[in-house]
């Protein structure tokens, strides 16, 4: 069953205890496209992104209302195992967080625990090629991942994620700790990856959102004085950056905010 949409949020609200961090989000995320989430600090971008693969389950007191559908199934229904969700929806974090193991093991571990039965060497090579890291590390696969530069570590984390062959990859400011050259490499990589994967990326970098994404979701605190964020505008990236409907979006993307 080919579905145009990889994931679908219906009236999704996210709470930390009694505090509503994200209010009533509706989003249709198209498969094999890059969707960017932008917005000011504290408006709930990371919270929303982590809700997509149930990473928020580890925050005590965090719960959601509404629906998050993947191929028609609500990822938050009782009969869905969060481990299975995370296996299908991988995540790359803001700070590179490789395992304190060898480069090879960083990729092999996720595959092994998920019961991968194929040729591990091949998988490692394919994943590193896919993350545009192979040429730099092929001679030192047994070295510690910590010996890599920050940009290389982040690409290793991407390689580790694509090694388990998820359907969707979530990225939370994946380039914010990197220099412009490494950032560019990651962006090129995303263009490569979107041939096979659906990507959702949170970024503070307007140019980056404009450069890499097909769709953009603009998040903002829902009203004056409230601390709950919501998606105020969601459409094609071109439109968000050239002809936004909402005045607040226009102010934000042109840097005239506040």
């Amino acid at each position: 069953m080919e579905n145009k949409y990889a994931i679908e949020a219906n009236a999704l609200s996210i709470y930390y205890g009694s505090f509503m961090a994200v209010n009533n989000v509706d989003m249709l995320i198209e498969a094999q496209k890059i969707t960017a989430i932008i917005g000011p600090s504290g408006c709930g971008k990371s919270t929303l992104l982590r809700a997509f693969n149930r990473m928020n389950d580890f925050v005590p007191g965090c719960h959601v209302t509404g629906e998050l559908l993947m191929q028609g199934k609500n990822l938050y229904s009782k009969d869905i195992d969060p481990v299975e969700v995370r296996r299908k929806i991988g995540m790359v974090f803001q700070k590179p967080n490789p395992f304190p193991k060898s480069i090879y093991e960083n990729i092999a571990w996720g595959a092994r625990i998920n019961g991968f039965k194929g040729n591990m060497d091949e998988l490692v090579e394919q994943s590193l090629l896919g993350a545009a890291l192979w040429d730099e590390v092929k001679d030192k696969l047994q070295d510690s991942a910590y010996a890599l530069s920050g940009g290389q570590q982040q690409r290793l984390c991407i390689a580790r994620t694509i090694a388990i062959q998820p359907e969707i990859i979530l990225m939370d400011e994946p380039a914010s700790a990197l220099d412009p050259i490494s950032t560019l490499r990651i962006e090129e990589l995303m263009q490569e990856l979107k041939k096979n994967y659906t990507i959702i990326i949170v970024t503070h970098n307007m140019q980056q959102a404009a450069r890499v994404s097909d769709y953009t979701a603009m998040m903002m605190l829902d009203k004056e004085g409230s601390r709950s964020g919501t998606v105020i505008e969601f459409s094609e990236t071109k439109r968000i950056f050239t002809n936004p409907k909402d005045k607040r979006t226009e102010d934000y993307v042109t840097g005239r905010f506040g």
Binding site: F58, R86, R87, G90, N97, N114, S144
Partner: protein
């Protein structure tokens, strides 16, 4: 300009700065003296122990060695000694020795000890500390000549290889710490085997699984307080639970050990295990807490279960810290005396502990017992045993530290 004007300028600034430097150097001097006091105390401790373990000893023979052999005592060979023992011991005593280990197979030192103990009957008159021996040699010689005209004076180390491998004896000159060392090793081994898995397991549950609620915070507070409970209380607990209630198990009678009671090395080891449990839990918890969350997220992010995350990432990274807790526990279990007295360590035993159900003694018990004796030679061997205890402590800790460093150095 108006902002700056609230700060001291030029002259005033230098003045204030000098005052700051003065305050800093006073504190630095205080810290240095604190360090010096610590070092001096340590040196005093080491000196005090070694002072007792070496020194002059005045002794006499009840029976003249010349009655047994014409060879000077210092030149007796292993063969000669075996022959002398065979000729002069009662046949009952000789056969008993032969049964334990044939005399020809024993070392010269061992036979010489038997010769002194059984035949010439060494009789220690007095002992002196190392300091006394070095500073007042002439006075000591004069005193010995006056008080014990036939006695011989010798500078000896109470700490000999023989001391380590000889079991307990009622005569200080022939006593050793073999039984006590083995008892202590059994004790520490059982305590760690019991407390390390349980303590680590409890720490994992508390850190990774337990919900943060009122109940867990009560449990946490209790664990923290338990580590401060006086050890004698643990002794009472061990006596009630392991020695009495669980007697069939700890005495080994359910495993077919006959003629047994609960005062075994197993009971004592388990008591020590309970005693060090809070120490292990707290250290393991700290170590687990110190594993960065980003690492857990990385594991969950590739679809790991909680158990896989804990087993493959949290535990290996917490291992050095867990071993730190183990090191502290070893030191504690090796040195504690009070709980052992309560659960019934034997004060006189010369049989090696060879199973968890053995009667036992331990180094601190042995030391305590020797220091309470009136004769000065027992104080000397107590000092020797303390040196052994310290060395054993350092060896066990060094092993654990080496192990820890190996885990730390991996990445």
């Amino acid at each position: 300009m108006s902002i700056n004007s609230h700060y001291p300028q030029a002259e005033d600034f230098r003045h204030a700065l000098n005052a700051r430097y003065r305050a800093a150097s006073i504190w630095q001097a205080l810290f240095l003296s604190a360090l010096l006091i610590a070092i001096i105390s340590l040196l005093a401790l080491i000196y005090n122990v070694l002072d007792g373990a070496f020194g002059f000893v005045a002794f006499d023979y009840k029976n003249d060695p010349a009655a047994y052999t014409s060879t000077p005592m210092s030149e007796l060979t292993q063969k000669e000694l075996a022959a002398i023992l065979k000729d002069n011991l009662s046949s009952g005593a000789y056969n008993k020795l032969e049964k334990e280990q044939p005399l020809e197979k024993r070392s010269q030192a061992e036979l010489y000890t038997l010769f002194l103990e059984r035949l010439v009957e060494l009789d220690t008159k007095n002992t002196w500390s190392m300091t006394e021996s070095l500073l007042h040699e002439n006075e000591i010689r004069a005193e010995v000549a006056r008080k014990y005209p036939t006695a011989k004076l010798e500078f000896r180390s109470w700490l000999t290889p023989q001391f380590l491998v000889t079991p307990m004896s009622s005569k200080a000159e022939f006593a050793g710490v073999r039984t006590a060392i083995l008892g202590s090793l059994w004790l520490v081994g059982i305590a760690i085997l019991f407390a390390l898995p349980i303590g680590t397991g409890a720490a994992i549950y508390l850190q990774e699984y337990a919900p943060k609620n009122f109940l867990t915070s009560i449990i946490q507070t209790n664990i923290n307080n338990l580590s401060g409970v006086p050890s004698i209380v643990y002794g009472m607990l061990g006596l009630a639970v392991f020695v009495r209630v669980m007697e069939p198990l700890t005495s080994g009678s359910v495993f077919g050990v006959t003629d047994a009671n609960g005062r075994t090395v197993l009971s004592a080891g388990l008591t020590m295990g309970i005693l060090v449990l809070p120490l292990i839990i707290i250290n393991a918890q700290e170590a687990i807490k110190a594993v960065p969350d980003s690492l857990r997220q990385a594991a969950y992010g590739v679809g790991a279960t909680r158990w896989q995350t804990v087993w493959h990432h949290v535990l290996p990274n917490a291992l050095p810290g867990i071993l730190t807790g183990t090191i502290l526990s070893i030191s504690r279990a090796l040195g504690e005396t009070a709980p052992l007295i309560v659960v019934g360590a034997s004060t006189f035993i010369s049989m090696d502990p060879d199973s968890p159900f053995s009667k036992f003694t331990a180094l601190p018990i042995q030391i305590y017992q020797w220091t309470t004796r009136a004769q000065s030679e027992f104080h000397a061997i107590a000092a020797g045993a303390i040196v052994v205890l310290l060395i054993l402590l350092l060896t066990l800790n060094a092993t654990a530290i080496l192990l820890r460093n190996r885990f730390q150095r991996r990445w």
